[in-house]
Amino acid sequence: MTTPTTIRDAAAALRARQVSSVELTRESLARIARLDERVGAFLLVTGDAAMTMAQQADADFAAGIDRGPLQGIPFALKDILATKDAPTTANSLVLDRAWADGYDAVVSERIRATGAALMGKLVLSEFALGPPDPTKGFPIPRNPWDLERTPGGSSSGTGIAVSTGMILGGLGTDTGGSVRIPAAVNGHSGLKVTYGRVPKWGCVPLGYSLDSIGPMARSAYDCALILQVIAGFDPRDPTAGDAPTDDYIATIEDGVRGLRVGVPGEYFFDHPALDPEMKAATEVVIDVLRDQGAEIVEVRLPHAAEAKEANTLTMVTEAFAYHSMDMATAKWVDYGTGTRMIIARGAFYTAADYVQAQRFRSYFAKEAAKVMAGVDVLITPSVVEPAQIVATMDMAKRMTAPSYSGPFNLLGYPALAMPSGFTKSGLPLSAQVVGAPFAEATVLRVGHAYQQATAWHLAVPPIVQAAVTA
């Protein structure tokens, strides 16, 4: 049979004995062997361990033991999450390897317990923030749709690995867009969860009050399957929410008829930096949802541009608090060039600026709550533009560029990036579905409804087909 491309299909095929976990895992390893040198998704491939896990999954199926939809599925973790059987680096020479030695992060523990075949540790932006520095000895991640372009960050390796089918699902982290941006530019789905929905214990911090760990997979449905495993309180994370966990699959087929979909035109659709093709594709998403019975409502989220500033300020200052003791030493040059320049910006804000950002956050949260009281979800573009050419990217320009992801980190809201088409030149486009706090089930339901009417999320980069047939 053809290798399944989604977790949902693979899980069904495994249970129908149409494919084994060993076969799926072998295919994943073959793709990694053919492609990874060019696209740089993996820091470490744990092939032997993955095959052992796959054999165990098959043995369990044969014995009637079923641990749920991830059993036997090729899966991988961003290398910012502690794993007891592999080193954790945060893609940096600086992280003390002893910090994560010999234990699992909460999410690693939960994924491992599903019986998934863990393929290894995935590349990321250094400490979930810094651009690749070729002098540090780590793989350079590249966009599989165009190797000259960025795969986004910071969960770049997860984005590439899902896009190319090296894995069927993975985990990323999102502080200002780090799940959604790579999902958007690599052409698959990625869910930033509500702040506190998924425990962060065992994850290297970036911005303590913003960080979240979320699923990345081809479809919204697959993200729901992963979220079902990783969501829920754990006392080791003092910021973990103890709101009850929903059944994310139970309502995913309910469609959008009767749902109210808010469209915030200001900033999210009228900013001069917004790419016209990205905008047009998002408008088509809105049309599709309207055709499916959703009610479209124009809304206004005031001061969204300032929300991006508040998110950046909060992230950078919280990161600087974590890193300052290392940065004020000879380790300064062990950080990547771009990483240290971004984190060190935290030294230039005042303590009052940080408090003011949190006062702004209170204001913005109230305004957003008013908007969400009248709608079930918001739709925006996920990103301002498709993947950029790495050689022309400009850090200074990024400081003033708009962000469609950061404001929702500031709010702590859940948000799904989902493919919405391609540019004329063949680059993925993406739309974002934003929900109220802990309303992941609604967000995923909207994403799934859209993906039932479209197939953008199933598209595979040409480089994969070429490698598979070679």
Binding site: W201, F348, R361, S362, Y363
Partner: protein, 67 residues
């Protein structure tokens, strides 16, 4: 907060206060970047926020012990 008249001196003071061993090239980049950074922070001092409490959470209860 107004932009400092002497950005170079302000950046030098903040780099030294943080103890960052930056190169001259990096220092120049910080000098170039600082007005944009400052303007971003200043944009948050808006009238609507004047009487807001910060979104900071502190609990006087001791955190739960780690398992």
């Amino acid at each position: 907060m107004p932009q400092p008249q002497d950005v170079r001196a302000a950046v030098r003071a903040m780099v030294e206060a943080a103890g960052l061993p930056v190169s001259e090239d990096e220092f120049e980049k910080f000098v170039e970047m600082y007005p944009t950074l400052r303007a971003g922070a200043d944009s948050l001092y808006i009238e609507e926020v004047r009487y807001e409490e910060p979104a900071l959470v502190f609990s006087p209860l001791a955190p739960a012990p780690r398992a």
